[in-house]
Point group: D2
């Protein structure tokens, strides 16, 4: 796979920087949150979920982030460590910031929403001086998540991490992960997302997320090819544009367009689909698989997560993904 290469001989296969938060998932589902009585606590946040996924799939992983100095923060670090993720660069905030929260409401498998607590969130307090150059130099992949660009000083920490990655030849993956409520304006978002994307090797986002990034560069027909082509002028090798139920398309620098089949699932909720897809896909290409096979693997991993109650806690092992694919191939799993 020549579109993107990965440096060998590094201590870690995968390091992510960004959001660490707590999901509070409604225990009573298929009803509005007003009528929910209790919630179960999980580690959350896109880059956290992806890293947990990568670790479960057997890779050597680390995280760069910031947690609140409280029980929620300690819960997060403890969970990462239990999952084999190196947390030496997960620092503790000392300014009184809190852990970001996501209360999830599952009205039906297709009608899910999230109530976010992002004011004074600890993860956005990560500062440039807390970004460890050696760790980035010692990782094959650095994953950045767009949410971490939403505010200072986390925004500057991510730009510095990107700089370190370019300097040391670490391959950079950009998970766009656009959450409007943490941003001051769509204009501001577009400017920083574009600045960051210029320095990334793989960019993954939904069609709507790329639309937002094209605010100052009209693409009236919302052409995926136009969108992808821009980034191939920079260092990008793969652009994945997700079209929801219609599946994802991967564009590569050589001009090719890659699609993969998807798998059926008994859907409980849609949360976490993107994170498990990213973990599965990245695992594939890090393993040297074709883009198509990697996409299928991501798709199967996503099916497993959306069939269960949590995101992070449901991230599958390689064995679980393999089994799921086999069962699908045998026709044992059908959609709800």
């Amino acid at each position: 796979m020549s579109d993107v290469t990965f440096p060998a001989g590094r201590s870690f296969d995968f390091t992510a920087i960004g959001r660490l938060c707590v999901d509070l998932n409604a225990n009573e589902i298929n009803r509005p949150m007003e009528e929910t009585m209790s919630f179960t606590k999980y580690v959350g946040g896109s880059p956290a979920n992806i890293t947990i996924g990568m670790s479960r799939l057997g890779l050597r992983t680390a995280f760069i982030g910031k947690i609140a100095d409280d029980a929620m923060g300690r819960f997060i670090t403890g969970y990462l460590e239990k999952n084999g993720i190196d947390t030496a660069n997960v620092v503790t905030d000392k300014t009184g910031a809190v852990t970001g929260l996501a209360f999830t409401e599952i009205k039906s498998p297709t009608d899910c929403s999230i109530l976010m607590y992002r004011d004074n969130a600890a993860d956005l307090k990560l500062s440039p001086s807390e970004v460890n150059e050696e760790l980035i130099a010692g990782s094959s992949v650095l994953l950045i998540s767009g949410t971490a660009l939403a505010a200072s000083p986390s925004r500057e920490a991510v730009f510095l991490a990107l700089d370190y990655a370019r300097k040391h030849g670490t391959t950079v993956v950009f998970d766009i992960d656009y959450r409007p409520y943490t941003w001051k304006s769509a204009e501001e978002t577009a400017v920083y997302y574009n600045l960051a994307a210029e320095k990334c090797d793989i960019i993954i986002g939904t069609r709507e997320e790329f639309d937002m990034m094209e605010r100052f560069e009209p693409n009236p027909e919302r052409s995926d090819l136009f969108t992808a082509a821009k980034w191939f002028n920079y260092s990008t090798g793969i652009v994945i544009i997700k079209h929801g139920k219609e599946g994802s398309i991967a564009y590569t620098r050589d001009g090719a367009e890659h699609r993969a089949k998807s798998y059926p699932a008994k859907v409980v909720k849609t949360f976490g689909a993107g994170d498990s897809y990213a973990a599965g896909f990245l695992y594939g290409i890090l393993s040297g698989w074709s883009i198509e096979r990697s996409m299928e693997y991501g798709s199967a991993a996503a099916c497993i997560v959306i069939s269960s109650h949590s995101c992070s806690d449901a991230m599958p092992t390689a064995e679980q993904v393999d089994t799921y694919i086999e069962r699908c191939n045998r026709g044992e799993i059908t959609a709800n």
Copy 2:
């Protein structure tokens, strides 16, 4: 009871203004919150709890407050209404504020702590123009809670409510309820607490809370008599100073000092003790009882709440309090 009188012929016995929030109580108790797996959701906030208590005891109650425009906010209003509290003056924030949260951690019956989410809290967005003069004119009692003084515009809303109450002869109860994390400085707190207390008929607080109010007026021996005497120069008739396990003392304008016996309880946690005490005590004096009998009633109501998992949801009816007192008197209840 001539120390404080209550206007007759009003539509409501009791109206409170201030904090409305959500408590998330750990389901797995006697462990640190890091190890808690799930939480149960209750309505919370001192003035909310007291109002629910008053309503359960059979009084006609109303609330002036502000909720977030989300599922948490709708849950609060729904719960107040189910408890017979008039919510015509509970307005909905339109600025994107969130519901204040209190995660409770119960490590042991005597080692409890709270993890608060107060950034961008909807209750502190209540503005003066949202304070209904007619409602205050139509209530026998207005209860204000000190937490509502912590930030603008809620602070100004409370001062305006106090002004309306004085104008219409509504009796004012001040529950000090000092929560340092919502204030910019102890100096600021002391100034506004004193300004508010000057306009109140009954003041209820802990010794530590009165210490904080005396920041600019030294009382080196922390004399309760000195503390209470100051307020009798204004319109105050009763000052209750709470000394934790050593019990409370009520000082009255006539120079008397009142103490009451307390009851035993099988304590689960200490949260909510003050709120149920306030509800029981105020119910008593509104009923024309002696201060001592009112204090005992408050004490019994508090025992019921600290013996159960929640605060608001455990607020007792008059029948429950009476039964509790009878059982204690028969020696059927002993402390843990």
Copy 3:
């Protein structure tokens, strides 16, 4: 004069708390500021001007305030000291605040405007712990200026100063001095102005300023009598309501209404008229003169200031006021 009395035997006749700033007066007048080439620098701010006026009239004066740690701040302190004002309680900000500025534009004697710089102003950083109780206890009069109520912590400093003044029997004068640009909302302003006014012996303001204070207490006919009567329920003895060119009216607790004749002037600009009026009037009543004579004296002092280029620097001595009155009486001065 029994409406308001002044404690005797104090070290200072007059102490003011509040705004200290710099006026930059256009040297080229009768043109818009766009065409102004240069500005002359003066000390400014209502309470500063009044204190300078009182000192020029021969009283023993002091100031409680905060200045920026820069050349502008040092200029202010130096000027106050040159004018015989005690500056032991003028403290220096250490947070990087700046000196408030007022650029004055004089298009014509009746068309004057001000361009204010009030962001991050040092005077609004005065904190309660910087208010010296002994100084207030040692002054006959404390003057507070409404602008100092516009933001924390200056607002709390003023409320604490009021508390000290009541405690020690110091007579309090409230110069309303409402400047909308420093306030968040008119609601907020009304609440704090009313809270402060309850504790003052003399209140001086324009009809428009009292209208603002009556935001929650309708006075649809804008009756001066209604306005003044409210404050006589508190400790106030004199309420002066200014009606611009139609002159001022002083209301006293005994129900009387006092008006005084005014003097002609060759007007250069209208700035500073209120400050010099206040200084002259207060000098009169502190001297035991009748309200009418005091008002006339204030009026003459105002004429002197509006006939000159500056505010602070033009504040007259008693000799200058006496001479002005004599010359008017001899018909030597006529209006422009």
Copy 4:
């Protein structure tokens, strides 16, 4: 001159984006500002000064910026227009922002300081949607000034302007112009300065400014060559590093190092030296002169400005610079 080229056939030779403010220069010099009595008003701000300089030298110029909606703002626009600068993209703030101020204090020709007013400054409110792509596409040169990167939304506006310039082949000049008081931290500054510099063709700064940019990339010997070399990996063609009295050095992509002789001057103050130098130098290279000749021209322009009272108003015409050089060459001008 092949290090940097300039597109031909554009409507404007030079467009700047960024700070527009007002300088208030002490009329009484050689004394501390405390003793200054009056100030003269000039247009100020580095990019404004440079643009005025370019216009005086005969180039076709435009400005992209934001002014306060007051007399100061109108004064700025009026002055730019009088100097032949296109102001169609100088927009007026509607949020109540003020014009940034710089009070200059001249204690001696070598001891000058500035008292800045930058809180709520209108120039930092420029937003991306106010950046005109066509203007940038129609200009040979875009100059950005580092101060405009200090805060949102001006920071994003500059990054968008850089994007437009790269897209349309407009040559970009970066005047570092680092003013610490407008930034939150040196870390934040370094990150954004580096991000911007990557997209610039000519970078001009002092040794100290480049030190700040190298915060995360140690250059312990403060080597100019190391500093310059970094930028030649991007699109930069010329890096000018200023060493104060020891003169400036221009590094070019071809590895060469250029120095130029300087001229004597009767120095009144040092303000404005950098801006006039930049204008003179850029005029030279836009005219196709050698780097050395351009540097000498900048040096002569700077001498003229530091010999006079103002910055903007003293920017010389080409005739004035030529005359100055000739007089220096004839020995008619000597240093003070």
